[in-house]
């Protein structure tokens, strides 16, 4: 049994489902249809095959996810990833935090911010704009959600950027609850 990862990391783990994924060869037409458009157009993962148990939701979820994270304009790609990380820290979704910290690192070509976030959480001492984004995301991820836009405006975000931050952070309220509650992160090199 490969070991479960319990600490935040930017090394992307393997996600091991608690439920049996849909077997492609046995998939219903609705499931096959929902699996046509995969996240980031990668190969079909166990995660997506677990979600294929509910094809009606999956078929809307995937294009919605891609639009919120990748559509042009508004907030930068990296800062949307920062919203995703803020939510994932609060909800302790180690897998989501790793994937989106890794994307943030690639986009910014700097690993120091994510190292600070994994060490200190939402209070990490980042440069002012990143700090405002991370703290807003961590607040919105709470239950009930908190949303104070004044620090974002003070840090220079405009309305369109704040809309995209709300969207990317809220989206991870969704993603974290699937990824963290339907499976667990395990070490990649494990058998």
């Amino acid at each position: 049994m490969s070991h479960v990862i319990e600490e935040f990391t930017a090394q992307v783990p393997v996600w091991r489902p608690y439920l049996r994924p849909v077997v492609l060869e046995e998939a219903t037409p609705a499931q096959r249809d929902a699996l046509k458009e995969t996240p980031s157009n990668t190969k079909v993962s166990d995660y997506v095959l677990v979600l294929a148990h509910d094809p009606e939701t999956l078929s809307v979820r995937t294009p919605l996810f891609n639009r919120i994270m990748y559509d042009r304009g508004g907030l930068s790609r990296a800062e949307r990833e920062l919203g995703a990380v803020g939510s994932s820290i609060v909800n302790r979704c180690i897998y989501c935090a790793a994937v989106h910290a890794d994307r943030y690192n690639q986009l910014t070509r700097d690993e120091s911010a994510m190292q600070a976030v994994f060490a200190a959480g939402a209070d990490a001492d980042l440069e002012p704009r990143a700090r405002a984004i991370l703290q807003f995301a961590a607040g919105l991820a709470q239950c009930p959600p908190e949303a104070d836009t004044a620090p974002l405006r003070a840090a220079g975000l405009d309305d369109a950027e704040m809309v995209d931050l709300v969207l990317s952070t809220a989206l991870f309220g969704w993603a974290n609850r699937l990824m963290h509650t339907l499976g667990e992160p395990v070490a990649k090199d494990a058998p």
Partner: protein
């Protein structure tokens, strides 16, 4: 279809409406996702009435009575009241426990919580359907809270 902007109190023609215009496809997909989780063609073991009740319950757990009132419908399911715990119905009790856990403190969820649902008789598809409903609602409630804050903060 769910009108997210109306729910967030953003009036047609308001300045924020103009800002949101390029994101119109996102709001349309959000409304379609809402339909998929509360009124799917294939509801499995989770009736439309139960789903509406659970959606309203989650809104209440997030302190959002306006969304709860909209989503619970004309004849609210008893699950819409967060004080209702399922009584002597073991399946309902397990579902409500899981909904409350994932809504309020998802970070504490473990493999054991999925096993509770299996023991209560939910199959794999119903467990995923329930997770999608709760998770979508977590998204919607945060989207609405964020948009309201943006509108009020202008």
């Amino acid at each position: 279809m769910l009108d997210v902007l109306a729910l967030a109190g953003i009036a047609e023609g308001s300045p924020l409406c103009t800002v949101l215009e390029p994101r119109a496809p996102v709001f349309e997909l959000t409304a379609r996702a809402h339909a998929a989780v509360v009124a799917p063609g294939e509801p499995g073991g989770l009736s439309h009435a139960l789903r509406a009740g659970l959606a309203a319950r989650m809104a209440r757990l997030c302190g959002d009575e306006k969304t709860a009132a909209l989503l619970q419908g004309a004849e609210p399911h008893e699950a819409a009241d967060p004080a209702f715990d399922g009584g002597s119905d073991a399946r309902a009790t397990a579902i409500l426990r899981h909904v409350d856990l994932l809504t309020v403190r998802p970070r504490d969820a473990t493999r054991g919580d999925v096993q509770v649902l299996v023991a209560a008789g939910l199959d794999e598809a119903d467990i995923v359907r329930l997770a999608e409903l709760v998770s979508f609602m977590a998204y919607l409630l945060r989207l609405v809270a964020g948009l309201r804050a943006l509108e009020e903060g202008r």
